[in-house]
């Protein structure tokens, strides 16, 4: 039985702001299903008593002092922009 169908893939693609062509969505759905079927093997491992590991290092409380550092000249980053308007980054209009 399929773990994931094309409609779910399309919903996830929307969450990720990825447009998918019809054929692309269908192909991805079947590949994703194959991968997720494979990943199901983890369900057999008992982990109720196991704590999750999101960091392998035993580090904690890494901070920096509240000190100002030089900023980057706006021009250095604005020149990277696909579109700009004076000293702003420009995007298609957002209506709230």
């Amino acid at each position: 039985m399929a773990v994931v169908n094309q409609q779910e893939v399309e919903q996830v693609a929307f969450l990720a702001r990825l447009a998918l062509a019809e054929a692309e969505a269908a192909k991805l759905a079947s590949q994703l299903d194959q991968i997720l079927q494979y990943v199901q093997q983890l369900q057999a491992i008992p982990t109720d008593e196991v704590k999750p590991t999101s960091h392998v290092l035993a580090l904690s409380n890494i901070t920096r002092p509240d000190q100002r550092q030089p900023c980057v000249p706006p021009e250095d980053v604005l020149r990277l922009a696909p579109e700009r308007h004076n000293q702003f980054f420009k995007v298609p209009k957002i209506i709230e």
Partner: protein, 477 residues
Amino acid sequence: MDYEPVIGLEVHVQLATASKLFCGCPAAFGASPNSQTCPVCLGLPGTLPVLNQRAFEWGVKVALAFDCQLACVMKFDRKHYFYPDLPKGFQISQYDQPLSQHGHLDIALGPSTKRIGITRIHMEEDAGKLLHDPVQPASYVDFNRAGVPLLEIVSDPDVRSPEEAYQYLLDLKAVLGYLKVSTCNMEEGSLRCDANISLRQVGTTAFGAKIEIKNLNSFKAVKAALDHEVHRQTSLLQQGGTLAQQTRLWDAKAEATELMRTKEEASDYRYFPEPDLVPFVIDQALVERIRRELPELPAQRCARLAKAYGVSPYDAQVLTQHPSLAELFEGALRLYPHPKPVANWVMGEFLGYLNANGKEPDEVQLRPEWLAHLLEAIDKGTISGTMAKELFVDVLAHQRDPNVLIEERGLRQIVDEAALNQLAEAVIAGHPESVKDYQKGKANALMYLVGQCMRHSDGKANPRQVTEVLKKKLETA
């Protein structure tokens, strides 16, 4: 059927640290667009966040001030959504191990207080700001604000009326002001508020559909929007309608809320632990150190003022709303130990001046000694009460000691017996008709002669003394 509102408030407060939450850019307001940015707060590829120690400690301080339980270990999580003001496609926030939970704030309701629960206080980074072109189909992004440290303070749904919501915000702001961790300026966005409200039948305990309200730019807007929602939802329910979970925007001009999104459109933020930051242990030593640094908070100070100086609970409440008011009150009392007139001047003249000028208490300097000198001058009769009120405005406007202004302007009242005798004699000599009228028993005549004395002295004669002197001279004439 009667309905009661169930209200919760979500406050975002910017911390006034020198640098941003995860990089060394200044966190200040008002710089030219994108001039307070660096690769880290712009989220450029490959850059990494490092937590600001002071922001962390201030977070702990605020949590303690609201009696929250601090996490033993807090961590940061990524909250994902796409928006042009969000440089990384996620916000570094806190999800299931926030800084603190389960606190409370006792708000003033008339002579008593009501306890409002604080669900949680967590740390996160601010987003940038969007400007919309009025003509072109374009929006513009300024990332100066991106990465400024924020605390999100979420209340329990304990608030039962728009008035309570308003008071909660006032008292919450007072606490933050005392802690000196934020400028708490709503116009500049260093304090922001979202509200959520549902209605339920009086006597029931279940919650109704929650309506979230955004775009609330002042405490008054919060109250107005909640008033509007209570009204809108009540009439909807009374007409047999039903409510569904929504987010609505407050339109201050129209004085109404409008639909922004429904529950079906609600986001899936895909929180997961921020792998670029390590966990933060909040140990007892840190907590105790910060607890010792906590200043006296508004509620404590309010109780102390009432007890120590015998001011009314209401006066004490007003005086402790902002730390600089209470400091002014107590500072002036050290030089001029009469609580009642000091309180009256702080709450009457000073607050009146601030309201008239749209200023916050810490935006206008009034040194305690200036107020004390002014009150002393009235008591000594150096100036009249009326003169004092006029002078007070000048003290604030010119930032000068009233004693200096009195001298410079020659405002000192004439209280010298000899000078007053001379003045009275001259006026009596110049107005024989009035003297006759007085002797005939016309009471108005004395008033007229006092007026003439004031005129001749450019208003500097002490009116009470001048009346006495005139009377004496007229009796013996």
